[in-house]
Amino acid sequence: MWEYTDKVKEHFLNPRNVGEVEDANAIAEVGSMACGDALKLTLKVDENGKITDAKFQTFGCASAIASASALTEMLKGKTMDEAEKITNQDIADYLGGLPKEKMHCSVLGRQALEEAIANYKGEPKKEQEGNIICECFGVTDLEIERAVRENSLATVEDVTNYTKAGGGCESCHQTIQEIINRVRAEGKPVTPPPLSNIQKIKMIEETIEREIRPSLRHDGGDIELIDVIGNRVLLATRGSCAICKASQQTLKNFVETKLRELVWPELVVEEVVQ
């Protein structure tokens, strides 16, 4: 059974604003019964652009009903400009959070809101934009990109939880991963900013002290930093490391990996006898 917050349960058992606003001037219908959840949102917006009434109808599980109920409560009294800023995370937050597998319920709410706003503005119902990536649930690359960007998603599982994409036959998992990689690489510099020699040596010393030495000392060994020439880090082994046959491997697999990860990706560790 899902771990729902008391607020989700309360909104599910006593949903607010069920039904259809009679003279609605902002209407949206998203999702489908075949996909497991569908939401119809109707709003009454006054001449000042303020939402005076909001109602919903939902086919779906407890969290879909609670998310729709929460959305209508959040919308009442807001202007359309304010409403436009509501994100799926806001809906989840209003409910004290949703299980991560159920985040797609909050995304459905946000989609309905966007469609209602477009409907109010008299924009024609949007044709499907982008290319369908997940055939099972009809999710496009643009929707996936957006969910990844707005919610800082990192894995295919995250994307499935938020958009349902990849939750069926799983044949699109590779493509979803590529989208995640692409979005997450956005805005990141290709290489980190260069370090001055002084900075580099200081960081290497700190990393050895903090991340490397404690593990080596645990086995009675140690290393000493002799010099740094460009990207070459010259180290001498001490204690049990000095007589250990595996010390070369330790230097390459452990010390070098750590230094590359935490200081500079091109560092090369070399052992010197001193």
């Binding site: 899902w2 349960k9 599910f12 058992l13 949903p15 069920v18 219908e29 019964m33 075949a34 996909c35 497991g36 959840d37 569908a38 939401l39 119809k40 109808q57 939902t58 086919f59 779906g60 599980c61 407890a62 879909a64 009903i65 159920k102 099972c136 649930f137 499935t160 349902k164 939750g167 069926g168």
Partner: protein
């Protein structure tokens, strides 16, 4: 709030007599049955009795009973054994509606280079016997078909299917976890080679199962270790669990008639009343060829998890084949294999009864459920109350 437990295909209450029989094997008689001393030996003797009780339930001999930890272990053992003993044969025949204990294992094996044929079922969950016959090949190492489906209760023509495998010299295993204790099973009257059962589905505790292996069947152990179970399953025995399962088997034999009369009547009342009171509801599965305790009903225009949670408010426990409860985003593979439309599969509820259910409980569910469905349907954007037709057949 009183719990009304109608989820007995998930697990069952441990019978009070079973608890009583097994308790001494926790506190006083905790010896290891493999020990040489009398203290352990007396546990071994009691285990022998349990083995006989289980054999009696199945119409088997005690030597054909191997104790395991659960139904899944029994299923895995049967398949993996066949792949070893059948000299390099690489084909497995199973059905589309198996429990994950077989289904996921077969998917795993097909990724390892084995060939798996999943026999389809029709709209009522009946096995396609023609396709089954065609699938049996010289390279087939084993057939594994469930006796009774856990979601719909539909029974496969097991004896016939086993015979067809036998004629071709192919090993035949059945996952009978849901069938044992609910319908009479007599291994003397069929040609099934291996059969899995699980204790907690028949009022014994969780953590004990059985793999029946017919005398003379080639067998290769799955858990390799000590000499327990004559070297067929290593690992110290779950003595209290085994003794509990023995007692539960004895009770199951006694209660078999009750299961097929009173429990069946309560199930029939439940589904008939629900179907007549709630429009746009339908029974999933072959109504004439089913376990006596199970009914699977779909309610169009509502989603199963929402129904379950609203029933939970009244203490009513059941399950659903909806996507939201299946742990994935797609509804139950069983209902999909039967071609139940997604809109119906999302709104499916399984009620599974036991001898402990009373008519009062069933009446309570019949009273509460219609208003739950109505409340949810009134929230649904597609529900048109004027189009009310009962499609239960």
């Amino acid at each position: 709030m009183k719990t009304i437990y109608l989820d007995n295909n998930a697990t069952t209450r441990v019978a009070p007599e079973v608890i009583e029989a097994s308790l001494p094997y926790f506190h006083d008689l905790y010896g290891n049955p493999s020990s040489a001393h009398f203290f352990g030996g007396q546990v071994s003797r009691k285990m022998k009795v349990a083995r006989e009780q289980i054999a009696a339930l199945l119409g088997a001999t005690p030597e054909e009973i191997i104790f395991t930890s659960c139904g899944t272990e029994s299923d895995n053992t049967a398949i993996m054994s066949a792949l070893v003993t059948e000299g390099g044969k690489r084909h497995i025949v199973t059905s589309r509606v198996e429990h994950p204990a077989i289904k996921s294992l077969c998917e795993h094996l097909s990724n390892q280079g084995y060939f798996v044929t999943e026999i389809p079922v029709d709209g009522e969950g009946n096995l396609d016997m023609e396709r089954y016959e065609q699938s049996l090949a010289p390279d087939t190492a084993i057939v594994s078909l469930m006796w009774a489906n856990n979601e719909t209760g539909v029974l496969f023509p097991l004896e016939k299917a086993a015979e067809m495998a036998k004629e071709r010299g192919i090993l035949f295993h059945t996952d009978a976890v849901q069938a044992v204790g609910k319908i009479p099973i007599d291994m003397k009257k069929n040609t099934v080679d291996m059969l899995s059962l699980s204790g907690h589905k028949l009022h014994a505790p969780k953590g004990v199962g059985v793999l029946y292996v017919r005398k003379g069947t080639k067998f290769s152990p799955f858990l390799i270790g000590g000499h327990q179970e004559k070297g067929r399953r290593g690992g110290t025995e779950n003595t209290a669990g085994i003794i509990a399962l023995g007692k539960a088997s004895e009770l199951a034999l006694l209660n078999m008639e009750l299961e097929n009369t009173r429990v069946k009547q309560l199930r029939d009342k439940l589904e008939n009343e629900i179907c007549s009171r709630i429009p746009k509801s339908r029974i999933n599965g072959n109504r004439l060829n089913r376990l006596p305790n199970t009914t699977n009903i779909s309610f169009e225009f509502v989603e199963g998890e929402a129904i379950l949670l609203m029933m939970d408010e009244f203490g009513i426990c059941a399950s659903s084949g909806s996507a939201c409860t299946s742990g994935s985003l797609q509804p139950s593979h069983v209902l999909r294999a039967m071609g139940v439309p997604f809109t119906m599969a999302h709104g499916s509820i399984r009620f599974s009864l036991s001898i402990y259910n009373t008519e009062k409980e069933i009446d309570f569910v019949i009273e509460k459920l219609p208003s739950i469905i109505e409340k949810l349907r009134n929230m649904c954007p597609y529900w048109k109350p004027e189009e009310q037709v009962c499609v239960g057949h």
